[in-house]
C-alpha cells in the first residue's frame, strides 16, 4: 500500500541531504569553537584557506583525498554486497606491507615501469588476502564480519609491529622502519609530473596515486552497475533469498566482494609507501580505513559521491592541520572533534533528517512524488 516515506528525488537524497548534514556538523562545531572563546568564522576561514588557499595546501588536500577514495570505495563495494567491512584500516596496512615487500625485493633489479604493476598487484593481493580470512569465516562459518574485521585490524597492527621490529627493520637503527627503497621504486610526485610539462607547482606529497584512485572509481562503477558480477553482488546485498533463488551463491559473492574491498583498501599502501614514505614504517594507515566508512556512507556508496566526500574529508584533514598550526588554541584534539562531528552527522546520523525532509518535500511539491 501507499507508504508516504517512500522516495525522495535523487538530487535531494544524494545532493541536498549530505550537504545539510555537513552544514549541521559545522554549525555544531562552530558552537563548540565559540564556547571555547574563539571566533568560529575566523576558524572556518583558516581551515578553508588551509585546505584550498594555495598550491601546497591543495596538494596535501588531494593527497589525503586519494587515501579516502580508496578506503571509501572499499567500504562501498562491500556494502553493495550487504557487508559492513570495518577492516579497511588493517587491509590498508597489510596492503602497504605487500607494496614494501615487492619494492624491497625487486627495487635493485627492476625499472619503475615493471615495478609499478607488480606493486599494485601486491597491494591488491595483500589487502584482499587480509579481507579473505574474515570473508571465509563469514561465508563458511557465519562469523560476523564486523567483529572479525575489527579484530583483524588489531592483528594487522600487531603483525606490523612484530615485522618491523624484528624482521624488516633496517639494521643499525633504533626506529622500526625498513630501509628506504631505491628511487626507481618511487611513484612520481604530482609536482614532478606537472614539472615535466612545464607547469611549476609547489611541492606536496600528492603523487600519481590520485590518478589510480580515479581509475578505480571508474572500474568500481563499471563493475557494480554494468557487469554480471556487480549484479550478483548487489543481488546478494539487496535480497540474499532472491539471490539464492537466482542461482547465485552468497558465499562466493561474500568472498568476492570482501576481497575486492580489501584490494581497494590495500591501494592506500601505493599512495603512502610507494608515493610518499618510500619505506615501510608503523602506523601509516593513520585512520584512513575508518574514515573510509564515513566517506562511503556520505557518498551513498557511489563513486561520484565518494570522490566528493573524500574531497571533503581531505580538506578537513589538511585544513584542520593548518588550523592547529596557526592557532594554538586549536589543539589537534579539537580538530579530531570537528572531524568526528562531520563523521557523526554525515555518517552515523545520515538518515536522521530523511524523515523530516520527506515530509517537507511532500508538503512543498505535491504531485511530484511517485507512490511506492
Amino acid at each position: 500500500m501507499a507508504d508516504p516515506s517512500s522516495k525522495l528525488p535523487t538530487w535531494v537524497d544524494v545532493g541536498l541531504l549530505p550537504l545539510i548534514n555537513v552544514a549541521l556538523a559545522f554549525v555544531v562545531s562552530g558552537l563548540l569553537i565559540a564556547a571555547l572563546g574563539q571566533d568560529p568564522f575566523e576558524a572556518t576561514w583558516i581551515m578553508l584557506r588551509g585546505a584550498f588557499g594555495y598550491e601546497e595546501s591543495l596538494g596535501y588536500t588531494f593527497y589525503y583525498t586519494t587515501n579516502f577514495i580508496f578506503t571509501g570505495l572499499a567500504v562501498a563495494v562491500a556494502f553493495h554486497a550487504g557487508l559492513f567491512n570495518i577492516g579497511g584500516e588493517g587491509q590498508a596496512y597489510i596492503g602497504g606491507l605487500g607494496v614494501a615487500i615487492a619494492c624491497l625485493a625487486l627495487d635493485q633489479y627492476l625499472p619503475f615501469g615493471l615495478l609499478l604493476p607488480i606493486c599494485i598487484l601486491a597491494a591488491a593481493l595483500f589487502g584482499a588476502g587480509w579481507a579473505f580470512i574474515p570473508a571465509y569465516l563469514l561465508a563458511k562459518r557465519g562469523s560476523h564480519v564486523v567483529i572479525t574485521t575489527i579484530m583483524f585490524n588489531f592483528i594487522a597492527a600487531s603483525l606490523m609491529v612484530y615485522l618491523l621490529v624484528n624482521v624488516m627493520i633496517k639494521p643499525g637503527q633504533m626506529s622500526p622502519e625498513s630501509r628506504e627503497f631505491t628511487s626507481n621504486a618511487w611513484l612520481p610526485y604530482m609536482h614532478e609530473v606537472l614539472g615535466w610539462f612545464g607547469w611549476e607547482v609547489a611541492q606536496s606529497p600528492l603523487n600519481l596515486s590520485l590518478l589510480w584512485a580515479l581509475v578505480c572509481c571508474v572500474l568500481v562503477w563499471g563493475l557494480i552497475w554494468h557487469t554480471r558480477w556487480g549484479y550478483e553482488i548487489r543481488a546478494v546485498g539487496a535480497n540474499a533469498d532472491a539471490a539464492v533463488y537466482a542461482g547465485i551463491s552468497p558465499s562466493k559473492i561474500i568472498i568476492l566482494a570482501m576481497c575486492l574491498s580489501g584490494a581497494l583498501s590495500g591501494f592506500v599502501g601505493i599512495n603512502e609507501i610507494m608515493g610518499v614514505q618510500h619505506r615501510l614504517l608503523l602506523d601509516f594507515a593513520a585512520g584512513y580505513g575508518f574514515t573510509g566508512i564515513a566517506v562511503s556512507l556520505m557518498g551513498r556508496n557511489h563513486p561520484v559521491g565518494i570522490i566528493l566526500a573524500a574531497l571533503l574529508f581531505g580538506a578537513l584533514y589538511q585544513g584542520g592541520a593548518e588550523l592547529a598550526f596557526e592557532n594554538s588554541a586549536f589543539s589537534p584534539d579539537l580538530i579530531v572533534v570537528i572531524q568526528g562531528l562531520v563523521v557523526l552527522f554525515s555518517g552515523a546520523l545520515s538518515y536522521m533528517l530523511r524523515g523530516p525532509m520527506e515530509r517537507l518535500y511532500l508538503r512543498l511539491s505535491p504531485g511530484r512524488l511517485v507512490e511506492g
Binding site: 501507499a2 543481488a235 542461482g247
Partner: protein, 530 residues
C-alpha cells in the same frame, strides 16, 4: 438500516452508527488514495469492505486506526466527532485492529501477550490476575477458547488469531477491524472464526472485515462497501447483492470468476519425486516422504494450509534446498542429498520456478524492473557479454515482456517495488514463462494480485499446460486450486495426505484433509491415486 452511499446522516430513530466517515481524502501525491470517502457502519453489524489491491481499503482503515491522518474529512465514532491521530486514540475510542500479520511475541504466553502494553502497573501479578478473569469472561462470551498459559509459539495459526482478537477485546474494543483474517486459515478454521464474529456481533460488537474473498463477504457480512481507485463506488446490503455484481463493481467491468479450460491430456512424467524428506537446521521435519509425479500437460495443485511443507517442497524441487532423504528426477537427472542440483542447473534442465513470495524471492525490490526481469538468467549470453551486461538489450527485452504481459506502468527503469503486486507478479511470470519451460513450479500465483490480473495469470497457466508444460501449482487459495488443477494433492505437516482428481474435488473434503481430520478421504484419495 441505511447503508446508502453519500454522507447520510444516521437515520432518525436508529441508534448512531458505530463508525461514520465523511468526505475522507488522503493523498500520497500524485496518488489520491482516498477520494471523498463516505462510509456508514451501523453498530452491531459485520461490515465488509472489498476492493482490489490499491483500491484504498488499507489506507482507509489505517486512517481509521490512526496510522495515517486524513488530509480532510471527519471521523465519527458512535455519533461523536472523534479525531483519531494515533492508534492510542483509536483504542481510546474503542477501535481495535487485527492485522493480517500477527503482532505477537512467540516466546510469551497467551496471557502475557494479551497483557502486553496494558500491564496495569509496575508489578505484573495484579494485572495478570485481573487479565485472567477478564479473559475467562471473554472466552465464555464469544467462544474464544485459548489456553491462557500456552506459549504463543506453540499455537496453531487459527488460535494465534484468537489471541489477537482477545487482545483487542481486552483493550475494550467494541469496533474491530480485521484485515484479511482468513488468509492463513483452513476452511474449517475460517468457519470457526466466522462463528466467533457472529457471536461478537450478537453481543453488540461492530466488525469491519477487509477481504478480497467474495465468498466470505457473502457468507458473513450484513453490509458491504466496495472501493475502487480510492473511491467508494457502492454500498450494498449483502442479502441484496451477488458475487458477480461485487466483482464487477470492484473491477469496473465484467469478470470471469471461473476459468475456462479443456480436459487435460497428460503426457510423460517429467518430474518424479520419490520419498522426498527435508529436515531443517533445527531438526524439524519439514517434508516427510513426499512422492509425486508431474506429467507434461497437466496442472497438479497442492492444497494445504500455509506452513505444511508446500514452501519447502517448492524449494527442494527448484534446487534451492537439497533433500535430506529420498530423491527426485527431472527429465533424466536424478537428484538427492549427495547429488544436489543448483537452481542454476535446474534452469538449464528447463525447469522454471515462480516463487511463492515474490517480495522475498522472486524479485529484488531495489532493482530496476529490467534487472528483476533477468534474475536467474543474468548469465544468459543474450543478456551479458564476457564482461559487461548488455543493458540496452535487456531493457528492450523487458519492454517486450511488459507489453506482452501488460505490466503497468511499462517502464523498465522503475524500481521493482514501485509496481503494484499484480504487475510485479506479471513481470515475474513473464520472466519464467517466456523461457518456455518444460516444468513450471508456481507458488501462490495470485497472492496480493487484483482480480483483473488474476484472470490473466490463470489464463497464462492454462496456456502453459495446453502447450505441454508440466505445472505444479501451490496455493493457499482453495478456490484457485479447484479451478485450475487437473489433480489435487493435499499436504499436511510435510506429508501428502490425499489425492483427488479435479473432477471429484470437493472443497469440504479437501478442507478436512488440509486439517488431516478425514481418514476416509485419505483412503479414498489413495484409491483414486491407484
Amino acid at each position: 438500516m441505511t447503508v446508502a452511499g453519500g454522507a447520510t446522516s444516521s437515520g432518525t430513530g436508529h441508534p448512531a452508527p458505530a463508525i461514520q466517515l465523511r468526505g475522507i481524502n488522503k493523498r500520497f501525491s500524485p496518488v489520491h488514495a482516498n477520494r471523498d470517502v463516505n462510509l456508514v457502519v451501523p453498530a452491531g453489524t459485520i461490515h465488509g469492505i472489498v476492493g482490489e489491491n490499491g483500491a484504498g481499503k488499507s489506507t482507509l482503515m489505517s486512517i481509521l486506526y490512526g496510522f495515517y491522518q486524513a488530509d480532510s474529512g471527519v471521523i465519527e465514532v458512535g455519533g461523536q466527532v472523534c479525531p483519531i491521530n494515533s492508534p492510542e486514540d483509536a483504542l481510546a475510542a474503542g477501535i481495535g485492529m487485527v492485522h493480517q500479520h500477527f503482532m505477537l511475541v512467540d516466546v510469551f504466553s497467551v496471557l502475557e501477550n494479551i497483557l502486553l502494553g496494558a500491564e496495569g502497573g509496575p508489578l505484573l501479578a495484579p494485572g495478570m490476575a485481573a487479565a485472567r478473569k477478564e479473559i475467562a469472561r471473554l472466552e465464555a462470551d464469544y467462544g474464544l477458547e485459548v489456553d491462557p498459559d500456552a506459549l504463543v509459539g506453540d499455537l496453531a495459526v487459527g488460535l494465534r488469531q484468537r489471541v489477537e482478537l482477545l487482545k483487542a477485546l481486552y483493550r475494550g474494543a467494541n469496533i474491530l477491524i480485521l484485515d484479511e483474517p482468513t488468509g492463513v486459515l483452513t476452511p474449517q478454521e475460517a468457519d470457526r472464526l466466522f462463528e466467533i464474529l457472529r457471536a461478537m456481533r450478537d453481543r453488540g460488537v461492530t466488525v469491519i472485515l477487509i477481504t478480497h474473498k467474495l465468498q466470505e463477504i457473502m457468507a458473513i457480512t450484513d453490509n458491504v462497501s466496495v472501493m475502487r481507485a480510492g473511491q467508494m463506488v457502492a454500498h450494498r446490503e449483502t442479502a441484496q447483492t451477488t458475487r458477480e455484481e461485487l466483482a464487477e463493481l470492484m473491477v469496473g467491468r465484467k469478470v470471469l470468476l471461473r476459468v475456462e479450460k479443456s480436459v487435460a491430456a497428460p503426457g510423460d512424467a517429467l518430474l518424479r519425486a520419490d520419498g522426498l524428506s527435508l529436515i531443517d537446521a533445527a531438526k524439524v521435519t519439514r517434508l516427510d516422504g513426499v512422492s509425486l509425479d508431474l506429467r507434461a500437460g497437466e496442472i497438479v495443485g497442492i492444497a494445504g494450509v500455509t506452513g505444511n511443507g508446500q514452501s519447502e517442497l517448492l524449494e527442494v524441487l527448484s534446487g534451492i534446498l537439497p533433500p535430506s532423504r529420498g530423491r527426485f528426477t527431472v527429465h533424466d537427472r536424478a537428484i538427492d542429498q549427495d547429488h544436489p542440483c543448483t537452481p542454476e542447473e535446474m534452469r538449464d534442465l528447463n525447469l522454471a520456478h515462480v516463487p511463492e513470495d515474490r517480495q522475498r524471492m522472486g524479485m529484488i525490490s531495489a532493482f530496476a524492473a529490467w534487472e528483476t526481469a533477468i534474475l536467474g538468467y543474468h548469465c544468459d549470453p543474450a543478456y551479458t557479454g564476457p564482461i559487461l551486461l548488455k543493458t540496452n538489450a535487456i531493457i528492450d527485452d523487458t519492454d517486450g515482456k511488459m507489453a506482452r504481459f501488460d505490466v503497468r506502468p511499462a517502464d523498465p527503469q522503475l524500481t521493482s517495488d514501485s509496481f503494484s503486486g499484480g504487475n510485479q507478479q506479471k513481470l515475474v511470470l513473464a520472466r519464467e514463462i517466456e523461457r518456455q519451460p518444460d516444468i513450471l513450479l508456481v507458488g501462490q500465483p495470485t497472492r496480493g494480485v487484483d482480480i483483473g490480473a488474476i484472470e490473466f495469470i490463470h489464463q497464462q497457466l492454462i496456456d502453459m499446460r495446453d502447450a505441454g508444460c508440466a505445472v505444479l501449482l501451490v496455493s493457499v487459495e482453495l478456490e484457485e486450486i479447484l479451478s485450475l488443477s487437473d489433480r489435487i494433492l493435499v499436504m499436511f505437516e510435510g506429508r501428502i495426505v490425499g489425492e483427488v482428481a479435479a473432477a471429484d474435488a470437493d472443497a469440504r473434503i479437501i478442507g478436512l484433509m488440509m486439517a488431516n481430520a478425514h481418514e476416509k478421504a485419505e483412503t479414498e484419495g489413495a484409491a483414486a491415486h491407484g
